[in-house]
Symmetry: C2
Subunit: 214 residues, 2 copies
């Protein structure tokens, strides 16, 4: 354990923090320097009390009647999420979804640096997408180990997700960001974040069906 104090926060709070970062980044471009809880609450559609609580996890306190110093708050939020350090990642599966992730250059400002991509299609190997070179999947675990890559991003079809996850674990990743629509099993010490787009769609279609019944 380092001397650095470990600050943590509830997962729903952590999930909201990127929205503050997006807002502050946009306002910074408009040369805003100071802003109030009320302004943030209005822009994001949150209650002011929630904004105060969310920001409190970073340790930043607003000045009475003035509000928050934009740069100070932005830096604190980015530091809290570790987005001020780029963490190297490998992405496996350069299909449409993999390309969408590789093409989304914003991830660099979120601390995710995709060093290389991997695919099983020999026609893709050796080519580049958005500046990222594509390697064969059978080199995955070896390159994770040699380059000490900490994050693996899975964008392969469901049927290959567990196979790829096993290779990532074998290579030594610490965290897996899984976009494949299949539950994968990893040892308990590995951080696993699943993005299941169908979960979000489920909420939408269920609400829509209730609206149609009214």
């Amino acid at each position: 354990m380092s001397e650095k104090e470990i600050i943590t926060a509830p997962i729903p709070t952590i999930r909201r923090l990127p929205r503050y970062i997006h807002l502050l980044t946009r306002l910074k471009r408009d040369n805003v320097e100071v802003l109030s809880t009320t302004r943030i609450a209005e822009e994001l559609g949150f209650e002011a009390i929630q904004v105060r609580k969310d920001i409190a996890v970073t340790g930043i306190v607003g000045k009475p009647k003035k509000g928050y110093d934009l740069d100070e708050l932005l830096n604190a939020l980015r530091h809290f999420l570790n987005w001020d350090n780029n963490t190297d990642a490998f992405l496996v599966g350069v299909g449409a979804l993999g390309k969408a992730i590789l093409g989304y250059s914003n991830f660099k400002s979120y601390g995710l640096n995709v060093l290389a991509a991997f695919d099983s299609d020999i026609n893709k190997i050796g080519t580049k997408y958005n500046g990222v070179e594509i390697f064969p999947v059978d080199k995955l675990d070896d390159l994770i180990q040699r380059l000490r890559v900490h994050i693996g991003v899975i964008t392969v079809p469901a049927s290959e997700a567990q196979f790829v996850a096993d290779l990532m674990v074998k290579g030594g990743v610490k965290a897996i960001w899984n976009f494949a629509p299949r539950a994968i099993k990893v040892p308990s010490e590995i951080i696993l974040e699943n993005v299941h787009l169908s979960q979000s769609l489920a909420v939408l279609t269920h609400k829509l069906s209730q609206m149609n019944d009214e």
Copy 2:
């Protein structure tokens, strides 16, 4: 209000239901006909008590010592989410992310039928992606109205998201599935589901930074 009973459930439960549908669809292909709570819990990594509670929202009850009839449970889950009815949708923004959504043919089995796509790039207009024709954005609200489309999917860059949302609302959509990394404002009667990939990444990078501090 129709005679049909309105059943609802907590949002976290609704978000888990697609995972049951994925599992049951896979097991159906393996000719499984009956399965127990324990089996479902093991496959999905949930507690058995949670599986029982989740399934209860559909009104389906397992048979003692046998378990659930797979077809009956699968139909009930799909019906609950309204995935047994295809709902027409328009997608706006045929960049990498839009293509990923259009290319993900599974959405049809989730009740989402993307009728047409829209883009502002004149080189894309009139072409097709994965069988879906691409129209100019200035036809969006008129076509939503004429074809009575209920769902709008936004996959444009952040700066255009509000403009597209306003057009969708003007046309008369009932629900918006927003992938743009920007909060959009819509009237309260519109169902809005935001997919912010950065939220999921925030949880992952924050946990990773805590692990590195240990």
